[in-house]
Amino acid sequence: MTWRDAIVLARRSVGRRGGRAVLTVLSVALGAALLSSLLIASDSAKQRVLDQVSEGGPLSGIKVDAAAPSASALDSDNPRPGAARRIDDTALRRIAGLAQVSSVLPIIATPIIALPPTTLPAAAHATSKNDRPLFEAAVGIDLAHVSQLPVTVIAGRLPQPGSQTEIAVTVDFLQRLGVTNANSKALIGTDVMLGAPRVFKNGNERRNRARWTKAEIVGVVSQEAGNGLFVVSLDMARSDRAWTAAGAPIDGIDPDPSEYSALFVVAHGLDHVTQVRAEINGVGYSTSAPESLITQVQRYVHVVELVLAGIGSIGLTIAALGISNAMLAAIRERRREIGVLKAVGAADRDVRRVFLVEAGTLGFTGGLLGAGLGLLVARTLAAVVNRYLASQDLQTVHLGVPVALLASVVVGATVLALAAGTLPAIRAARMPARQAISDE
């Protein structure tokens, strides 16, 4: 008997006992839905936690400071910079050429004087009054490759690459203004005066001046690319930095001769971060990466995933036992049919195949329905959770369609159903032909 013939016969047999088949499929579907919804929820939670840890950047990101490494730099996630050391294009190319390095992006931080808007939109509900200039920094990043940087957009968008007039502000800036994340959208479209400072020295006389730019806030971000309240294009940061550097040193700020303030390196996977950090240290630069934290978080989350998968699997196993029970009952009811199959020449393996295909069909159908139902449940839960998170001024959770996870639930349900159907199928196959046909 071919598999195709077995499938046709099994399908007809399942269809003939529609009520029982529907109930069996539903029990598998519920088990599969429980498992898939738990796994989707834990997967999303893991992504959320890791995003939080990596600030939305790649998990295998490494920050390279314009400083020499210290001896114990590799033992810590946090930077332990030694003496200042310039990062220029040559150093950038050397690091980019290292094995297991996926990408290298430059970061330019430059001092900036900011004049916040004296009148904020009413919708911002600002609780502080800011009519004094802020002496801060702007962080210039490669806005064309922002997905490879630890930057997360909270509201609005990022400035256009190369823009000299668009900026994004950080959450810290919102706090300075007394604006909550929930009201951050209200700031989009308002203007900030940014001044690149410069000290003019004439003998002993020092005069502080600034080159002012009227910049529009186009977005609000959370970022770990550099220390600063404003995210700007690389061109804007480079231009301001050159303007400032052309003057005399600013009191309280060490002159920074480096072409780039830092680099952000992405390794080919979390497993290679330690190796890449060591190689960058070998090139002569201090590094930092949240690899230990991420690894620990992944470990803890994995434990949670295992527990949730275990709970879900119990549901699926109960459903599989239901299949086993239904199959055993079917065999008792279908002794005569088994006898007829044997009378017309079915070998034990043919009978076994028919019953296994029936069990597999129930498991596959239930798994498919359950995976869909699980996704629906997870999305519903996510909607409820997101409403709560939004009300608490927290970043919401994004649920994708985890195709591989859902496929594995379907495969798992089918395999479990096949396992559950094995004993009944063997029992049916081993039934003596005359005993089956006599139906006694």
Binding site: M1, L9, R336, K342, A347, D350, A433
Partner: protein
């Protein structure tokens, strides 16, 4: 189906004997002890004949049919059919024997309710890995021959008793069997359907070259067979 080589290798067949049983013994183990159902019986059945097996309930006639059909293994003696000694076959060989040598017709028809008439007849060829097209053509031909060419897509529940038994006969003939074994084939039929079904079974040796063994309580049916084998207490009383 048995190959020509099998036929040539079987000295009984060459001698015109379809079934050669010697010392055939079968028993059931019951809580009360061993119950001998077939008690060392010897008989031959001529190829191409129709044999009626009669006897009272419990005389062993259905058990004899089960043994000859490979549904049960004899506990003693030997049964030679189409070159096979049924006492020596293992489970797989027994299944192959049923698939290739025997066709069954049951009192309750034995049709699968989830399949159409056409598919029920095809079923007999499904386990032989005959191509779908070939077995479909064969099933159509046989159902046409039993007058059910217009009932191909009907499920058993939509057929009368006589029609069901005609489907069962078509299925029994699908694998071109040497032996057609019918257990009370008219037991559930009205007189008209009985006559039709009986005529068909009696024509099988002529039309298909098979040997037919019919278990029956009906003397009228037995009277139309070429030979009658009467069992009493597991022994052949008259043949």
């Amino acid at each position: 189906m048995a190959s020509p080589a099998d036929v040539a290798a079987d000295p009984n067949e060459r001698a015109g004997v379809a079934v050669h049983a010697t010392g055939l013994r079968f028993r059931y183990d019951t809580p009360e002890g061993e119950l001998v159902v077939l008690d060392s019986i010897d008989f031959d059945v001529d190829a191409g004949s129709v044999v009626a097996i009669t006897g009272a309930s419990g005389s062993g006639k259905t058990t004899l049919l089960s043994v000859l059909g490979g549904l049960d293994r004899p506990h003693g003696g030997s049964v030679l059919i189409a070159g096979h000694d049924l006492a020596q076959l293992d489970r797989d060989e027994m299944a192959r024997y049923r698939r290739e040598v025997v066709g069954f017709v049951f009192q309750d028809f034995g049709l699968l309710g989830q399949l159409t008439a056409l598919e029920n007849v095809e079923l007999a060829l499904t386990f032989e890995r005959v191509s779908r097209r070939q077995r479909r053509a064969r099933a159509r031909e046989l159902l046409g021959a039993v007058g059910l060419g217009d009932r191909l897509g009907h499920r058993p529940r939509a057929l009368s008793g006589g029609e069901k038994q005609r489907v069962a006969i078509a299925r029994a003939l699908a694998n071109e069997p040497r032996l057609v074994l019918a257990d009370e084939p008219t037991g559930n039929l009205d007189p008209v359907a009985t006559a039709v079904v009986l005529d068909m079974l009696l024509r099988v040796p002529v039309d298909h070259g098979s040997t037919v063994l019919i278990v029956t309580h009906d003397d009228a049916i037995a009277a139309r067979a070429d030979r009658r084998m009467h069992l009493i207490g597991g022994r052949i009383a008259s043949a």
